[in-house]
């Protein structure tokens, strides 16, 4: 990963998480173990698990593919006559949705997706681009994002509680006092924005919308399935595998190659010559995929040409036919 201006918030957030945790385990937890061994160890264990859980979810959120749609390099999906810049389709509950043409990705944006201008890709079920995790939050990592903020809140709350307990209990060194007081001030301050974020996201789960949809319009979402169902779907819906660089499993790849090899045994010739009249040969190249020349339209091409040359018996007409009609 290239470290640039974009990665600064990410480094800041992960640095803050690790440094504060180190201070907490180095001072508060150690102090509590010294005061009472068993409860101190229990507290360290619980907070350690919460720390690990939030750190893992944080890393997963930031490094996983959020659901990028591959960019259509062929640029062949634009339907000038039928749809133009936006394509109207019917979605759940009979509502109409107009899929906008994405000029960067060269495809019609599916419902609930959005083009992220930081990642420069369209993201499935786009929620928002989070600078703190330096990634988009979308279809595939929304659950990890929610798990991260939830576990982080529990971790901070637990940290605040135990730090206050440690302050109340008697202590010996001045450094310990300073660090514990610092933690007791910094942790509640950092809790406020995260708590607001979590409340907002749980509210969004209740109404079944993404952050982007909520910002764009106040109308209820047609994809809302009720609070419990939304919650269940958020965490347990089987997510699509990443679209970019997706490869079938080795066994399936092997089976596909076997099938293709079988197919190539009776592969048609690369080209076929059709004699049209006495002096003209039309050489038709085979398509890249196997195409049965015997009952395909190649015969009809030949018939058409024969007819044409018989009717006109001049080369110029055949020439124009060859280039324009086929």
């Amino acid at each position: 990963m290239l470290v640039g201006k974009r990665q600064l918030p990410f480094l800041l957030s992960i640095g803050l998480l690790i440094i504060l945790s180190l201070l907490y385990f180095g001072f508060t937890a150690r102090h509590l173990i010294e005061v009472h061994l068993l409860s101190g160890i229990l507290i360290t264990l619980i907070s350690g698990l919460l720390f690990l859980f939030s750190l893992i979810n944080f890393l997963v959120t930031s490094f996983i593919d959020p659901g990028y749609y591959p960019i259509n390099t062929n640029n062949d999906e634009y339907e000038v006559i039928q749809h133009g810049i936006s394509k109207s389709i019917t979605v759940t509950g009979g509502a109409t949705f107009s899929m906008r043409w994405c000029d960067e990705c060269k495809h019609y944006r599916p419902p609930r997706s959005h083009h992220c201008c930081v990642c420069e890709m369209c993201v499935e079920n786009f929620d928002h681009h989070c600078p703190w995790v330096d990634n988009c939050v979308g279809m595939k990592n929304y659950r990890y994002f929610v798990l991260f903020i939830t576990s982080l809140i529990l971790y901070i709350l637990f940290g605040i509680g135990t730090t206050i307990a440690a302050i109340v209990l008697k202590r010996d060194s001045l450094l310990e006092v300073i660090v514990e007081f610092m933690l007791a001030i910094i942790l509640p301050i950092s809790l406020i924005p995260i708590l607001a974020l979590a409340v907002f996201h749980f509210y969004l789960m209740i109404i079944g919308k993404t952050t982007f949809e909520q910002i764009k319009s106040e109308d209820p979402s047609p994809y809302n399935k009720g609070f419990f169902c939304n919650l269940y779907l958020t965490f347990f819906t089987p997510a699509h595998p990443k679209y970019q660089k997706f490869e079938p499993s080795r066994t399936v790849r092997k089976q596909i190659t076997t099938l293709e090899r079988d197919r190539n045994v009776d592969k048609v010739p690369d080209s076929m010559d059709i004699t049209c009249g006495p002096e003209v040969i039309v050489r038709v190249a085979a398509p890249t995929f196997n195409y049965n020349l015997r009952n395909g339209s190649y015969t009809s091409i030949g018939e058409k040409m024969n007819l044409y040359t018989q009717m006109n018996s001049t080369h110029s007409h055949t020439d124009s036919l060859a280039t324009s009609d086929i």
Binding site: I56, N72, V91, T92, F97, I256, E279, I281, I301
Partner: protein
Amino acid sequence: MATFNIVPEHNKVFLSRDYTNGTACRFNMELPTELRNNVSESQFKDTVKHINDIFAEAERLSCRSYMEGCLGCLTAYTIFLCVRTHYEKCVDRVALYIVQQNKDVYEPLGVKICDPMERGLRCIEIQYCI
């Protein structure tokens, strides 16, 4: 003797997604008008229905998807690095099914169906010869 070279053009048609039942992966079963000459409607419908059935199975909320989520969480998501998820297996099945169908049915008719994963499950690309 004059020789003309013709390279037949591959026309493409895109089978779009069907969003009428939500954002679950499903494709329109209607036969595109461009393919009317090559493929019979019932044959095409059967193929797309089979693809849709595999995706429906992949997206179904079941004990399996629940267990997969929990197991992933417990193993710090490292399990997804070494074990293929149910969805990925289903996508593999779709890829294999399409290759088989192409070989047996569609290519002799001058039609080739492509793997929907190439376009992020947004649509299925179908190539055909006129």
